[in-house]
Subunit: 590 residues, 2 copies
């Protein structure tokens, strides 16, 4: 099989017989990869019999425990902070921790196809070397000593492939023959954030599944197939950091990294009852992470953590900023962790400051697609809590979110999807139907790029002015401190039905910081539309018709906590405080 | 005369006779504007006889004093800090201060054509109202109480035109018929930074000349003609903030704002023996400032101060950041003035910290065009001073600056100059020969925009890695704290000979912070090439041949102090310390 990357522009005309052979070739290549991956799971970690089909056993989040020892369960259901506390004091061996997560991740993959890369042996070697370090020095190697960390398969790890769900990328570096990649020559092939994490003592061990090209709210590709939602395998896991979401829901990882250009961290976080942070651009290092829109700078991908608690997100971000990533990534701002902002937000939230309480905006609808009943209820519960705690909540009436969506579409794919479709054509695989931009368009010209950039700035300005104007309404003397908004208009839907990502896209358009916290689960008994629902538009009508209370019963619902640009400390402090007040994030809920 | 802006794409075909009428029209319009401007100078401030021609009196920097009272001289040759100290304590009336600067600016304009807009009456009204405020409250209105401030004519002031040296922009808002401009609807027609400055108590009174479209190192346009260098009117004033530079050299302003995309603050600062700051993008608010490359986001224009001392730059930046411009400009980073960085840099410079001294890189040449002898001597004097004070200076051997220049050209004008040439065609005026991009090209496509953005990031990464790698060389345990570099390869040349802006462009490509300080003046007796100079390339040969020690004798030479991205505090602290150690910035030197 010829796996040399092809330049699609110089490719010879394909005769029908060649074409069919190539079709054969990409399918074979995908199959081979899928099988190679499975073979990396040690025999003793293989399921004795396949799990029953989703129709019989939709939820596998409890099922997975059957295959684990009590010690493994105890380790894997600990928070990242708890794990590091124990590995850093010799109470737990890093090797035991890493093995437990490798085992659980292997099981998870057999249940929901959530991994793209497995490198258990390298991880266990790293763990042993950390144990040896601790044995010799009686101190941890770094603040993340021995913490296993899962990575979305857009993030490079030296010696491990990155397919990003694209068949033609297998055995290449982002579609190029292996060799010195300009950005990798100095420091090897790992993305900067992986180098930083490893320097802090963290241990990467798996890379998780993504939609083809990492550009969809549903995680399906031709290599790994489909990643379903482990809490209900009849529903989607979300995307594009879908494998991360599913793996976290199964406690196959204590902490993962996703990337987000339109909701790709936040949607799978919400769909899997976990926590996530989409930082503003320039806060965490994206250096050396793959993207099919690399060089699109107006609304770029950002990298951020996903975890079982807000505290673990804070733990990760704090550690990453302490290594001064602006010294390695020219796009990272020299903006250290601002503990005073974080702590003061928490104190004000708890009423420990003489000043007034906090003020929030709540977005009950973006005016394009109304939230389905479980999401409306989730928002209501958060608002009720905030008001009960003495905070002000005002209704959010911002500039048009339809305009935000338009700007998102206009600014994200200025090459008309050329880079993505060129990547697909390396192997001749077709675009999957659920991927954004599955039909290639002509690139726009430089004048149009500039006009769109100006329109984007004008929208950001209008939104900022609106945000600031709320100072007249809050009664705190300040504009709202944060915004509570849906993550998605509904709980995770059935496959093929992630139709709208507007609630998350809008905050990429604005480059605002946003955390996601779990809030509730859909309940078929209470979460019903009032009679005579009047749809806003055909898209909203579809969202209304998609809602199936029976199918979605029990499906997770989260909310976004949105701060202005670069307000990561604020949205993390609030994620911690609000989720703690709601008592979320405890694995015993499973 | 029809002054309705035309959409050049929908314009009717022009017959020869129409064309000649239009040619007539733009010339007449430019003349009318020039004359209207002159008529705004009160008769008592008009020169009784024109100044002698440059051949007889090249230097007018002392000449201007002849027309001023001792009190006016005393006011206008005070620093911004001194002025505000006096206006804020009632020692000086704001009106007297404003009148003195209006008078001196009016004289300056008659000597070097440095103004595009005059609004003395409005300024004097504002001054009176501030005096009234002080009279009533016995305290200043704000930290810039009564400080006159000049503005480059790319910055909007409500009620005043912005032509930016483009005839077709006269009587329009950036080429559009007057009316609600999307970015201006909320807060009037002033650029945000003007609103901020006025809120702080500053008084705009003039807008200064720029090259046609503000895209050249030489200040020439069809409206105002040519702005020569006041220290030698046979030489250029620099550009594009050329009017600012010239006005400052004549002490017709205590503090001005320029904009910079390739050296437009720094080159005129150096050519006029004054100080300037080009901040990184996102530090000071560019919201609502005009640009013919608006929407080009990879290497955008930035706004920054120009002044008679580094202390005045600090004064201005500190005041501007105190109003939290990120609340009004969505592109400004929430990064307050970091006084600890500023003060600690100064203490280390002075040897007041137990830690090691500072480390500097010195760029003796960028490898594309070698500095002419006066610039090499200026660099040597700074290096000698730094070493004498105990600091380390290493030779700077960065990634190719030729590559930086290529990236600058590739990223700055992705529309091929369409926006600029459309602006020119509003009136049918031709492009001036010294403007960058005077021939329109086809816009590049979105794929190419993305490829260029990636190449830019890779260059920034390589440069950052190089910067960090100097930690091995400095002996301080840190990478270099700042870089000392030429501003321009020579002193201000004769008209038409600003051939190369590579020394400044490179730091726009990198988005680094850079301050400019005056260092010396060219001396025909000592600043000569050694015999047998071997040129690097044809451009360097031209620079060598351009050098005319006799013509340039006495022309100002400055250097850049360059810090990494967003290191404004560092480069300002060093500008203050180094210039103070060199005893620069005293008007008695004139």
């Amino acid at each position: 099989m010829d796996i040399t990357p092809r330049n699609p522009e110089n490719r010879e005309p394909i005769s029908l017989s060649t074409q069919s052979k190539m079709t054969e070739a990409w399918k074979a290549k995908a199959t081979a990869k899928r099988e190679a991956l499975s073979s990396l799971i040690p025999p003793e970690w293989r399921l004795p019999t396949p799990v029953p089909p989703p129709s019989e056993l939709p939820n596998v989040t409890r099922e997975i425990r059957r295959y684990l020892s009590p010690q493994e369960i105890s380790i894997t259901e600990s928070s990242a902070v708890e794990i590091v506390t124990k590995t850093s004091t010799g109470q737990w061996k890093c090797e035991a921790v890493t093995r437990a997560f490798c085992h659980r991740a292997a099981l998870a993959h057999q249940m929901i196809n959530c991994l793209h890369e497995i490198f258990f042996d390298a991880a266990i070697d790293s763990a042993r070397s950390l144990d040896e370090y601790y044995g010799n020095h009686r101190k941890p190697r770094g603040p993340l000593h021995g913490l296993p960390i899962s990575l979305k398969d857009t993030i490079h790890v030296e010696g491990v492939q990155t397919s990003m769900g694209i068949v033609g990328w297998l055995d290449t570096v982002e579609g190029q023959s292996r060799g010195p990649h300009p950005e990798h020559t100095k420091r090897g092939y790992s993305s900067l954030i992986v180098q930083n994490l490893q320097g802090l003592g963290a241990i990467p061990y798996v890379k998780t599944s993504v939609p083809q090209g990492s550009f969809s709210g549903e995680t399906t590709n031709h290599i790994i197939g489909h990643t379903p939602n482990p809490a209900n395998r009849n529903l989607v896991v979300g995307g594009s950091s879908g494998g991360e979401g599913g793996l976290l829901a199964l406690y196959g990882s204590p902490l993962g990294l996703g990337t987000d250009i339109g909701g790709s961290i936040r949607v799978p976080a919400a769909f899997n009852e976990c926590f996530g942070l989409k930082p503003s651009t320039g806060r965490l290092p994206f250096q050396g992470i793959a993207s099919v829109v690399d060089g699109e700078a107006a609304i770029p991908f950002v990298v951020g953590p996903m975890a079982h608690s807000a505290g673990d997100l804070v733990f990760c971000v704090r550690a990453l900023l302490a290594v001064e990533p602006w010294r390695g990534d020219p796009l990272v701002l020299e903006l250290p962790w601002r503990d005073e902002v974080f702590e003061s937000t928490k104190r004000i939230f708890r009423g420990l400051e003489p000043a007034a309480r906090l003020a929030f905006g709540v977005m009950v609808s973006d005016g394009v697609v109304n939230p389905q009943p479980p999401v409306t209820r989730a928002l209501g519960e958060v608002v009720q809590l905030l008001r009960a705690l003495g905070h002000t909540v005002i209704e959010w009436k911002p500039p048009s979110h339809a305009e935000a969506l338009k700007l998102w579409r206009e600014n994200c794919v200025i090459d008309g999807g050329t880079k993505f479709h060129n990547a697909l054509s390396l192997s001749s695989e077709p675009a999957t139907p659920t991927v954004f931009g599955n039909r290639a368009r002509a690139p726009v010209d430089g004048s149009e790029v500039m006009a769109r950039t100006v329109a984007l700035r004008e929208y950001r300005k209008a939104y900022l002015d609106y945000w600031e104007s709320t100072a007249d309404e809050t009664g705190t003397g300040r504009a709202v401190d944060a915004l509570i908004a849906p993550v998605h208009h509904g709980p995770p839907p059935a496959k093929g039905k992630v139709r709208y990502m507007g609630y998350t896209c809008a905050f990429n358009v604005l480059d605002y910081s946003a955390s996601v916290i779990p809030v509730t689960r859909a309940r078929k008994d209470v979460d019903v539309y009032t009679e005579g629902y009047s749809a806003l538009n055909p898209m909203d009508k579809m969202a209304y018709e998609d809602y199936d209370p029976g199918l979605l019963d029990g499906a997770p619902v989260g909310v976004q906590i949105v701060g202005r640009r670069l307000q990561e400390e604020t949205v993390l402090a609030l994620a911690e405080e609000i989720s703690s007040a709601m008592e979320k994030g405890d694995p015993s809920r499973l």
